[in-house]
């Protein structure tokens, strides 16, 4: 390739945006970026992409071991309480709805509602985690401890990882709630809520996959 060939390809598209003087208000992302997505949002998407493989690995491990003979204790498939877990899954699902409501409230600068919905989301999430703690204790009572057999290790590790993700999400929601109370979450920062929401919905979707593959489809 010669230099001249390169010179011939004049600049295509991508004209610079003025002197970076993009006025912004509460609803448009505050800064010009090459993709149009804010750094924070793009970063969250990337992180969630990475998380897909984390859960992918854990789910595969569980699926590998759930068909194996267990050498001690009950196989995990025998002690599921599907109605109970269905209810707690429903609770988690509903928390995605309240998360959406929180975001739309803060975008309308309706801060009181936003706080209500943020708190509701956190509460629904906590209910789910509480349900998980209850489930774990009953399973242990029925003879499946973490070290009892392969399936126990795989089951508690997978669902435990998910539970920790929900718990971190609850912490973020509560932080947003407190920030909002102290006036540090103006409508201009609605995107922060949106980003936490992305995480929350992701964790929710992962649960739906886990619930289907781990609980519903028989081994």
């Amino acid at each position: 390739m010669s230099v001249s060939e390169q010179t011939a390809t004049a600049p295509a598209g991508a004209v610079p945006e003025g002197a970076a003087h993009v006025p912004h208000d509460a609803t448009t992302p505050a800064h010009h970026t090459s993709t149009g997505l804010s750094h924070e949002k793009l970063a969250m998407w990337l992180f969630l992409g990475s998380e897909c493989l984390l859960f992918g690995g854990l789910i595969s491990t569980f699926l590998l071991y759930r068909t194996r003979e267990v050498t001690a204790g009950p196989p995990v498939g025998d002690i599921y309480d599907i109605p109970f877990t269905s209810v707690s899954s429903f609770v988690l699902l509903m928390s995605s709805l309240t998360m959406v409501l929180a975001l739309s409230a803060i975008q309308r600068a309706d801060h009181r509602r936003a706080r209500t919905w943020l708190l509701t989301t956190a509460l629904l999430g906590s209910t789910f985690v509480a349900g998980q703690v209850y489930e774990f204790t009953t399973f242990v009572h029925e003879g499946l401890g973490y070290t009892t057999n392969l399936q126990g290790s795989a089951f508690y590790t997978l669902t435990g990882f998910h539970g920790v993700h929900v718990t971190l999400g609850i912490l973020m929601l509560l932080s947003l709630f407190v920030m909002s109370l102290r006036g540090r979450l103006p409508a201009g920062k609605a995107e922060t809520v949106e980003i936490v929401g992305l995480y929350w919905h992701f964790v929710d979707i992962v649960w739906i996959i886990i619930f289907t593959l781990v609980y519903l489809i028989p081994a």
């Binding site: 390739m1 010669s2 230099v3 001249s4 390169q6 010179t7 600049p11 295509a12 598209g13 991508a14 004209v15 610079p16 945006e17 970076a20 006025p23 912004h24 208000d25 509460a26 505050a30 800064h31 970026t33 090459s34 997505l37 804010s38 750094h39 793009l42 970063a43 990337l46 992409g49 990475s50 998380e51 493989l53 984390l54 992918g56 690995g57 491990t61 590998l64 071991y65 194996r68 267990v70 050498t71 309308r108 600068a109 801060h111 009181r112 973490y146 070290t147 057999n149 392969l150 126990g152 290790s153 590790t157 932080s175 102290r182 006036g183 540090r184 103006p186 409508a187 201009g188 922060t192």
Partner: protein, 681 residues
């Protein structure tokens, strides 16, 4: 605007920040000189230097371990190391070179160069960048502390199950390995998110994806590989950790576990990992070779797309590491084929480098020598790779020194030579003066001879059946001479490394090299050496691939390049700009506001080794580490990235109506993930 609507009395108006110093624990650090500034810096260039210096220190340690291995193997029935110590040495050697040398070395280049090459003022999240570095450093130190706490890990860098279980490895070595790599993994993951966001989001106007220098492209692909490979090894590490610390059964064969699970998880990470290790080095030489061949890179789009293709195909070949483990004929055939195919995009790159060299006016600087050596040595390593891909052939080679020869030709002959090419090439940019070319060439030739003397003969003894990872070998196998030569070669490598160290010290007083000592092609050469903290006076507007070259050269009627009489450097080069005026008379660089230094990254990072020691020794320590991390996260998250109390430069004319200047601040503030710029709206 929504912000001015009536609202309940509790609300403050947007942008009012009632708390300036969240948690109030520290006042904000402000120095930008002295050793303390290195602890709190968020400047991508300083962080790049920190990464590089740390990686080279680990290189010395990993090299020392290698020398011990070679001394042991110099003669049959070696007595220098006990088998136990030998195992620790090759485990720590491999782990160090992969995770603590080449990966951070490439992080060093990526950090330093990506913003400069795409015309940005910093990375997307400067404080997160600092956090990555400290997490990496503490992870590495944690791993090395195992030597003083009952013995280092001893199960190889791939740490196969069930050998890694408590039954077979009762000491804490493996725990240090699992936890240490989890910590450095966090660093890599944060770095990947940060650098990908930087590449995608912070390109200067006109810097389209296909105008990015090849180094940026290859680093970007490698960061994507990290993004998706790190979680896979994280899963493997967690499972192993739970087995060892909490009695889980993932690799407990007695409970019916499948040890191949580890191999699959490890190599699904492991093969993309080898491309993580080599792609950025490919990027380095793809920028070095055109500069010293005085020609544009041959087939830029092929270079980019073959890199992307490698990035995708790299996910479909992992089981070629498991041909001998009984995965079944169908899997073996499939992975054998896919492995042969991956050599195609790799070959494309090699031909493009040759095409660039072809009929170029070659200038053999030290950097160019290292780059050309990469091309030839990597070709040898790639060829032996294709030999492994033939599964029946591989069953003869696997676990012999032939494999050791293969991966050293790709990793040392490839990645490390590329890294040295990069070091010699960008040294004047980073430190303002060149390394001595005379010592550099001596360094190159010694390393080149030493490397080939060490790893060339391994092909031969490998095909003769000498097993790897075995502390001694008997007399009379016909391996003695080759092993002695290999040991001599390894000492040549050590000498060449010392020459480099000497070069670094001896070259300190070299004359200033100027902004563009090699007549470079890419934007980093358009600014002073070393670059000012803010990199560019104004965001450059990019119109070409090899933008800086096109600003320097036009062409005559025959299409030959002619150097223009007038072109402007983009910052810090002429007198005015060193006084703070910038090359562009309209810009006052003291108005550029960079993210402020911060204590939080190092504090937050300290929590991780605390947790790790705690998991091994006492959970109280882990709880303390957890508290440090929570406090650190809130501190980091709530602190504005640009210190509102920091001075706005030392000029007095800064009125409240200086909207344009605040906008500048906002740009950089956004870079930092800070959102404290509402006052501009």
């Amino acid at each position: 605007m929504a912000l001015t609507e009536e609202r309940p009395p509790l609300e403050l108006t947007a942008g009012d920040e009632p708390v300036r110093n969240p948690l109030g624990a520290f006042s904000r650090p402000s120095s930008s000189y002295g050793w303390r500034s290195w602890l709190t810096t968020v400047d991508h260039k300083k962080i790049g230097i920190l990464y590089g210096a740390t990686a080279m220190a680990f290189f010395a340690l990993g090299g020392l371990e290698a020398l011990l291995l070679r001394v042991q193997l110099a003669q049959p029935e070696g007595q220098v190391l006990s088998p136990e110590v030998y195992n620790q040495m090759f485990t720590m050697h491999g782990t160090t070179m992969v995770f603590l040398v080449i990966m951070p070395m490439l992080a060093a280049f990526s950090n330093y160069l990506i913003p400069l090459m795409i015309g940005a003022r910093d990375v997307a999240f400067p404080r997160l960048n600092a956090l990555s570095y400290w997490v990496f450093l503490f992870g590495g130190l944690f791993l090395y502390s195992s030597f003083f706490l009952g013995g280092a890990p001893d199960n190889g860098w791939f740490n196969y199950a069930p050998n890694s279980g408590v039954a077979f490895s009762p000491g804490h070595g493996i725990d240090f390995w699992t936890l240490g790599l989890q910590i450095t993994g966090i660093a890599s993951l944060l770095g990947a998110v940060n650098l990908i966001t930087t590449c995608l989001n912070m390109r200067a106007p006109g810097m389209t994806l296909l105008r990015m220098p090849v180094f940026v492209w290859m680093a970007l692909v490698a960061q994507f590989l990290l993004l998706f490979a790190i979680p896979v090894i994280t899963v493997a590490l967690f499972l192993l950790m739970f087995d060892r610390l909490f009695g889980a059964n993932f690799f407990n064969v007695e409970a019916g576990a499948d040890p191949l699970l580890w191999q699959h998880l490890f190599w699904i990470f492991g093969h993309p990992e080898v491309y993580i290790l080599v792609l950025p080095a490919f990027g380095i030489v793809s920028d070095v070779i055109p500069t010293f061949a005085r020609k544009p890179l041959f087939g830029y789009p092929f270079m980019v797309f073959s890199g992307i293709a490698i990035g995708f195909m790299g996910w479909g070949v992992w089981a070629h590491h498991m041909f001998a483990s009984g995965i079944g004929p169908v899997s073996v055939a499939a992975f054998s084929l896919s492995t042969m195919f991956i050599a195609v995009p790799t070959g494309v790159k090699i031909f493009n480098w040759i095409g660039t060299l072809w009929k170029g006016k070659l200038i053999f600087t030290t950097a160019m020598l290292f780059a050309v050596a990469l091309v030839s040595q990597f070709t040898i390593g790639g060829l032996s790779g294709v030999m492994h891909s033939v599964a029946p052939h591989d069953t003869q080679q696997t676990d012999t020194y032939f494999i050791v020869a293969h991966f050293h030709y790709v990793l040392f002959g490839g990645s490390m030579f590329g890294i040295f090419a990069g070091i010699y090439y960008w040294w004047p940019k980073i430190f303002g003066h060149k390394l001595s070319e005379r010592i550099g060439k001596a360094h190159f030739w010694t390393m080149f001879v030493g490397f080939n003397l060490t790893f060339g003969p391994m092909h031969i003894v490998g095909l003769q059946g000498m097993p790897r990872r075995t502390a001694t070998y008997p007399e009379g196998m016909g391996w003695d001479l080759m092993n002695l030569l290999e040991t001599i070669g390894s000492f040549l490598i050590a000498i060449s490394f010392l020459m480099w160290v000497y070069n670094v010290v001896a070259s300190r007083k070299n004359p200033h090299a100027g902004a563009d000592p090699w007549d470079g092609r890419t934007l980093e050469w358009s600014i002073s050496s070393p670059p000012p903290a803010y990199n560019f006076d104004v965001e450059p507007t990019v119109e070409h691939l090899d933008e800086w070259w096109h600003r320097k050269y036009g062409e005559d009627e025959h299409g030959r390049p002619v150097r223009r009489e007038h072109f402007t450097y983009l910052s810090g080069v002429d007198e005015a700009s060193r006084r703070g005026g910038g090359d562009d008379p309209d810009v006052d660089v003291s108005d550029i506001h960079l993210p402020s230094p911060s204590y939080w990254p190092i504090v937050l990072a300290l929590g991780l080794p605390l947790i790790a020691y705690g998991l091994i020794y006492t959970y109280w320590l882990a709880a303390l580490g957890g508290l440090v991390i929570i406090a650190g996260s809130f501190g980091l998250g709530l602190e504005p990235s640009v210190d509102p109390d920091a001075g706005h430069g030392d000029h007095g004319d800064h009125g409240p109506d200086d909207e344009g200047h605040d906008q500048e601040l906002a740009e950089v503030g956004a870079a930092a993930g800070g959102d404290d710029d509402e006052e501009a709206s």
